[in-house]
Amino acid sequence: MSQITRTGHIQMVDIECAREVLEQLGASSITINNTSITCQYQGDSIHLTRTVNGVIGFTMNDYDNRVQSHLRVFDQMQQKYPVLIQEKMEKIRLEKERIERIRLEKIRVEKEIQAQKQRNLDELNSEARTFQLAEQEKSAMRLQELEVEMVKHKAELELSQEELNRIDQSKKNFVETTQKEFIKRGEKGGWTLSENFVETQRNVTRIQFRKQMN
């Protein structure tokens, strides 16, 4: 019988994002290691695990009395996790926008300074000269402020970018390990791998197994 089976829309694979999400949800005593996450949430002890391919989930029987508290926190995490990543991407976009605005403002001020320097101060009377010098000083100060601002935002952008790179790396690790595990386990189950490639247009890995019948 043919079918489609799908896992959840988003797989939580970045451990630091999971920590942030738990903090946002108000969880406390968060402890994370390579294989599990434990925390306290609304009076319950929560124990989440990481599968071999890095996916954060939990293993529990339906009849376990802790299942409801785990489901509650897990559902909320699944809702917040993609939002958090979206927010991080939005932060990068805004930082880039800010840096571009500062860059343009810097160009404007630099041009202004250039024009001020070209004015012949000797031709001005004393009042105008004082005003002109004050203007030059003001522009120079503004330029300095912009440079400081630029450095600050570039550092913030770098940090956010590093974070996003880490998330991307987590996703890559997930895809690679999942792919390897599927192939290994599929072949162990008597299936023959007939296709294994990345469909770049859709950004999906496609694995196809076949069982030839006698």
């Binding site: 079918q3 489609i4 599968t51 989930g57 189950g189 299936w191 999906v204």
Partner: protein
């Protein structure tokens, strides 16, 4: 002004290799009253569910499919319970030089005129109800031994196809979502469950569209 056809669609998969020969764009229709005993995909039965898509949206989806696709596959639900829309899609695919594979739970003897046209214009058809007692996972593209694979246009020589069980797993790099299509056995489903978000069976979206109604 003529009204545009509307398709009640369960799912569209932009590319797959387990629903017919080569790489194919796949559409599952929503709605089936045949109610084959043992059908795993009862979610595709209700006509009240699904997404109502205009024919132009369906065609746009096909237009945006990969350039290398060999053809399209229409399954369900029951595509011939939306025969006019199905026929329009078949004609459109053919106009793009794509081959057409059609799954139907009906037998040719039950066809009306439009259903017959759908059949006649398809390069591969799998016809017949899914019969639980005749279930055989080792059949190529079919679920039970009574289902007939044929090529009405003679585009394919069906005797060239070797029986095999096929399953396809897609891993989305952006979201991490894993999609399994085709004819998985318990081992495959267990493996997906073990490597996904949660190991509670109820947390995995259960089988969706049927292709062997």
């Amino acid at each position: 002004m003529s009204q545009e056809s509307v398709f009640n669609v369960h799912t569209i998969l932009p590319s797959s290799e387990v629903y017919g020969p080569g790489l194919r764009w796949v559409l599952w229709t929503q709605g089936c009253t045949l109610a084959c005993k043992g059908c795993w995909n009862t979610e595709t039965w209700s006509k009240q569910k699904g997404v109502l898509m205009s024919m132009s949206d369906v065609k746009s989806s096909l237009d945006s499919a990969e350039e290398e696709i060999e053809g399209i596959t229409i399954l369900g639900g029951e595509p011939l319970q939306q025969a006019s829309a199905t026929l329009e899609l078949i004609h459109y695919a053919r106009s793009k030089n794509l081959t057409v594979m059609l799954y139907t739970g009906y037998y040719e003897s039950e066809f009306d005129e439009i259903m017959q046209q759908c059949f006649d214009n398809s390069d591969l058809v799998i016809q017949g109800r899914y019969v639980e007692e005749k279930r055989d996972l080792g059949l190529l593209w079919r679920g039970s031994t009574n289902q007939i694979l044929e090529s009405p246009t003679k585009h394919y020589d069906v005797s060239n196809f070797r029986e095999a069980q096929e399953v396809e797993i897609q891993i989305d790099h952006d979201t991490g979502q894993v999609t399994v299509t085709g004819y998985p056995d318990a081992h495959i489903l267990e493996m997906v469950e073990e490597l996904s978000t949660s190991k509670l069976s109820s947390r995995i979206e259960k089988p969706k569209p049927s292709s062997k109604s």
